[in-house]
Amino acid sequence: MENLKKELKEKIIEALNLEDLTPEDIKDDELLFGEGLELDSIDALELIIILDKDYGIKLDDPKKGKKIFESIETMANYINENRSK
């Protein structure tokens, strides 16, 4: 689980071009959207692609993403339960 979280942080930094951050800068329970990391709607679409490409999870309804992408913690839990690769 800890490995998955670290991997997710690295992937997010890479995919969302958060060049000024390192994985250590992102806390597991920090809000990804809104105040925390200040991600926006385009970033949410990128997260959907990470789920699909790297973990084989198809998320057709972007609205579902809201809960899943709340934090690294929630994202890692969801991937753990639903991954197909």
Partner: protein, 196 residues
């Protein structure tokens, strides 16, 4: 009152120049590294910058340096008029590659239009003004002059931030100049050709 060039900023060959003054110089030939160094040097403190494609980075860097060095506040009715040759070729090639590999990336796709650079400048400076992006084979001073004068004379804008923002890989040249109803450098073809 005549409209003249009151200030300009150029980013070319690792140099950032504002009104004849060299503000920053860097030997780095890789554009992405160069612009990141410049970003840190000018302390832009604008996280969104990292997400931008090379064209937007170049346009935002140039306009930010120019605006930061103005002695008076930028007129809110300052139009944006940008031109180049290669549109947003770098991000277009990247997006095309992602498609071939099977996954289009939204964060890239959103930058595959050259006028996104106008949007980024407008957002950063809260400029709700006339804006347009044109493409020419080479730098076209006649067009820039005609269109700038027309915008000001018909009162569609009080001032115009105009210029050429060209980038393809590590080959870049950005010249933005501010035209206002003030004394400055005459808005003439020869003068623009001297600056570019």
């Amino acid at each position: 009152m005549k409209s003249e060039i009151t200030h300009y900023c150029q980013i070319k060959n690792g140099k950032v120049i504002f009104d004849e003054n060299l503000l920053y110089e860097d030997k780095e030939v890789d554009f992405q590294k160069f612009i990141k160094n410049a970003y840190q040097f000018f302390e832009l403190d604008y996280r969104k910058f990292y997400k931008m494609d090379p064209l937007c980075k170049l346009a935002v860097m140039n306009s930010s340096v120019l605006i930061a060095n103005l002695t008076e506040k930028l007129d809110p009715k300052t139009a944006l008029l940008l031109t180049n040759k290669s549109a947003c070729v770098d991000i277009d090639l990247k997006h095309q590659k992602s498609i071939t590999e099977g996954f289009a990336r939204p964060a890239d796709f959103v930058y595959t239009l050259p006028n996104i650079s106008l949007g980024e400048i407008s957002i950063k400076n809260k400029l709700r003004s006339e804006n347009s992006f044109f493409i020419f084979e080479t730098f076209n001073p006649e067009f820039l002059i005609t269109y700038t004068q027309q915008l000001i004379q018909t009162k569609k804008a009080n001032a115009v931030l105009a210029g050429w923002v060209e980038i393809a890989e590590n080959d870049y040249n950005a010249l933005l100049f501010l035209v206002e109803k003030k004394k400055g450098i005459a808005l003439k073809k020869e003068n623009l050709l001297n600056l570019i």
